[in-house]
Amino acid sequence: MSNSLIKIAVPVIGLVAALVLAFVAYFFVLAWWSQPPAVLGFGDGPTQPIAFPHTVHVTTAGLDCQFCHRIASTEEAAGVPAVAQCQFCHDFTRITGEESDSPTAETEIAKLIGDPLEGPDPINWVRVHRLPDHVQFVHAPHIQQGFSCSTCHGDIASMEVVEQVRNLKMRDCVDCHRDNEAPTDCTTCHY
């Protein structure tokens, strides 16, 4: 191998290595200190099996969050409504999407009906707000203490596609717990 090649190769390899290191460092810094990097897909809301518009349901129809997420004030999970509940309302109000301006409304609402004999399949919603396995988050006490859903979830009412707006890292949780004199014992969330 000629000297000139080495002369070129060394800085190139060095540069690539530096870039890789910089990328890894960037990733860890972001992962640790702020929101997960947008490149991993945490930034924009995922595509859901039904293009469910919170805008229409909250803003136009004026529904309260707990009208559908009805166990948020009593249980761990906020609760995703059963398909039957979706169907019930749509049957009751006779909203089939025909009357909507949106071109997709009718096809999306039709997904609720499913097989006429077997009934609707459960909808495999894609999780937007996901905490690590070792965190046991419970909605109930937060709602009972009078926090609004938007404190953590942001202005869902204006989101066409739901996305995560708050980083929901441990520091975020603990800061808020301290500010509100909520327990900060580790086993409040970790068990």
Partner: protein, 236 residues
């Protein structure tokens, strides 16, 4: 005896009394615990390697020789000591005593030095030597309220803290015997009693003062939150 306690979370001191005169060693507590707490399946090699994980286990002691021989059973779980030897040796503060009298293991802090396990005179702390594996179908049974522990960390009995949290959440008042850890709930002879030692009317407080009550390795001064009631020896 259902008495209401006017208490908030920090007012609790959870404790347990195990009546050895009622205990038959039947293992119902052991399996109920494994089901509730997502304990990895103890396969044959776990026993052979000495690495079976049982948050509560039934120890058997022999006394005497055949034919005047007696097996005694001692269900051993984390004793939730007030002076816990495990807590002071953890370099990362992953185990500590909380204000409800619980000895707590924080999985996400644990780095697996195993100092705590080595220092526990009751051998109540168990180390995950392997990533826990369940066949895909069996995963459906896992309890969503309990973290699945990964390889390389210590775990132990929590007094079913997920049930404590659920019942006392937000400073909820809780009646004595309104909930129980999985082992106590299963025990077919009612040998185990769990409750709040700060509530003088609770069943566990009353048994706490029983004349048969003793603590295991009391001389070590660990001051456990678990007491045992001595088995009564009738003449043979």
């Amino acid at each position: 005896m259902a008495t209401r306690t006017q208490s908030t979370r920090a007012d609790h001191k959870w404790g347990m009394v195990i009546d050895l005169d009622r205990c038959t060693g039947c293992q119902a507590c052991v399996i109920a615990c494994q089901s509730e707490n997502n304990i990895p399946l103890n396969d044959q090699s776990a026993f052979l390697d000495g690495r079976a994980i049982e948050w509560i286990r039934v120890e058997r002691y022999w006394e005497g020789d055949y034919p005047d021989i007696k097996a005694r059973f001692l269900p051993v779980l984390c004793q939730h000591c007030d002076n816990a030897p495990c807590e002071s040796v953890c370099p990362v503060y992953a185990t500590y005593h909380n204000n409800e009298g619980l000895n707590v293991q924080v999985y996400n802090r644990c780095v697996g030095t195993r100092f705590c396990g080595n220092n526990c005179p009751y051998h109540a702390r168990l180390f995950n030597y392997w990533e826990p594996v369940w066949p895909e179908d069996l995963r459906n049974q896992l309890n969503p309220d309990v973290t699945v522990r990964t390889r390389g960390i210590m775990e132990k009995c929590t007094f079913c803290i997920q049930r404590i949290r659920r019942s006392t959440r937000g400073g909820k008042q809780v009646e004595d015997q309104a909930f129980n850890p999985a082992c106590v709930q299963a025990c077919p002879t009612d040998a185990m009693t769990f409750g709040d030692l700060n509530n003088p009317d609770s069943r566990v407080s009353q048994k706490w003062e029983d004349e048969r009550a003793f603590r295991v390795l009391e001389a070590l001064g660990t001051n456990p939150s678990v007491k045992y009631l001595k088995q009564v020896d009738a003449h043979a």
